[in-house]
């Protein structure tokens, strides 16, 4: 069960594992590895999952930073032209969402477009609760 968000709260307001990126970061990378415990009865099954980790020190990162700094310059120069600044910021935000993790999410979403609505949280619990 998640912590209920506090009313009028601050910035830390999303206390649940929400996005696909969070889930990928966690369950593909962490947790007990079955191979370490079981050999005889282990069944290999095809996994569609992909490595979502990004490489921080990369050519792409460097060029993206340079581009972002450049945009920063432009948006500062154009202050006073709200329409244009708004456009640039929007463009910037869009660019940000094009990170590797979201790209991974897009691929996964190809298999997932039917899911749509709210997922029911399912649980097990102690007997007698």
């Amino acid at each position: 069960m998640t912590i209920a968000p506090q009313s009028g709260g601050g910035v830390a307001q999303r206390p649940q594992a929400s996005g696909l990126a969070d889930v990928i970061d966690t369950i593909l990378d962490k947790g007990l590895v079955i191979d370490a415990y079981v050999r005889v009865s282990l069944v290999g099954i095809e996994l569609l999952t992909i490595d979502a980790r990004i490489v921080i020190a990369s050519v792409d990162t460097y060029l993206r930073f340079a581009e972002a700094v450049n945009r920063l310059d432009i948006s500062q120069e154009k202050e006073g032209l709200p329409g244009l600044v708004g456009d640039l910021e929007e463009g910037g935000a869009k660019h940000k969402t094009k990170g590797a993790i979201e790209a991974a999410g897009e691929k996964l979403r190809e298999f997932a477009d039917a899911s749509g609505g709210e997922r029911e949280t399912q649980r097990s619990r102690r007997r007698g609760d």
Binding site: T2, G10, A17, L48, I54, Y62, R126
Partner: protein, 267 residues
């Protein structure tokens, strides 16, 4: 309990037993709880002595890994972890039969799993993800690093093909500067939350703008205090760093092969 291999679907494919996690045996699962697969298998409990595993049947000839599969795995374990200690398995663990789960997994590693569960008892995992606000952090770097400001000046308005080297250099300076800031802010976050956590693991950055990405093992009774501490930090960082608190989660970052008992012991 052991009918999986005979339980053949209409298309003749074989079935396997997908394993989600290991937990104390005194639990039950709401009937109709759906797991991974398409169509999703129903969650069942396989027991051995006082240990249990959450499992569901899967078709071996159908790949797993759709977003629904990933969410089903995580949501089941996270919801479980809110009530009871659970050792989460990494996504994709499939064994042949319920008997194999009971004997080869639970039975063969009984002591290890029992001790790991005892250490996790009364705890859940939380993850704090803090990200720099891009424009703010870039401005900060430009004002602190004369080299970056110079490089930025040199490439302004110039032909991108000609300035590739300079742009690479600029990006590297920024990346390194952010790495230094990340270390400092991760440390600051650790200091601010240390009173509330039993153990912590710094995760590798999930984005080049991460200020901190840390998994925390937290006593159930301290969850509220943790949330308050994170909110105080978020307020302090407001405008420069966005903070998210995720949890409670199963203790994915605090179990490890081959001796999960040790993972929870650190401080």
């Amino acid at each position: 309990m052991t009918a999986q291999m005979e339980d053949r679907p209409a298309d003749g494919g074989q079935m396997g037993v997908y394993v989600y996690g290991i937990l104390p045996g005194d639990i039950e699962v709401e009937s109709g709880t759906e797991g991974v697969g398409d169509p999703p298998g129903e969650i069942r409990v396989v027991r051995h002595r006082d240990l249990a595993a959450l499992v569901s049947d899967v078709h071996l000839d159908r790949p797993l890994g759709r977003a629904e599969d990933l969410f089903a795995h995580e949501e089941l374990l996270d919801a479980t972890a809110a009530d009871v200690a659970v050792l989460p398995l990494r996504f994709g663990a499939v064994l042949t039969t319920d008997d194999a789960v009971a004997e080869e997994l639970l039975g063969a590693h009984y002591d290890e799993f029992t001790s790991a569960l005892q250490q996790l008892e009364g705890h859940a995992e939380y993850v704090v993800q803090a990200r720099y606000v891009e424009q703010v952090i870039l401005s900060e770097v430009l004002s602190e690093q004369p080299e970056a400001a110079q490089l930025n000046e040199s490439i302004r308005g110039a032909d991108p093909d000609v300035t590739r080297d300079a742009r690479m250099q600029l990006g590297e300076v920024i990346s390194n500067a952010i790495e230094v800031k990340r270390q400092a802010d991760t440390e600051a976050l650790g200091d601010a939350l240390s009173g509330q956590v039993t153990a912590s693991v710094v995760r590798p950055p999930s984005s080049e703008l991460d200020a901190a990405y840390v998994a925390l093992l937290v006593e159930t009774g301290k969850a509220k205090k943790l949330q308050q501490a994170v909110e105080r930090l978020a307020k302090q960082w407001q405008g420069r760093i966005d903070v998210r608190l995720i949890g409670p989660l199963a203790a994915y970052d605090f179990v490890g092969a081959p001796a999960p008992a040790e993972a929870a012991a650190g401080d």
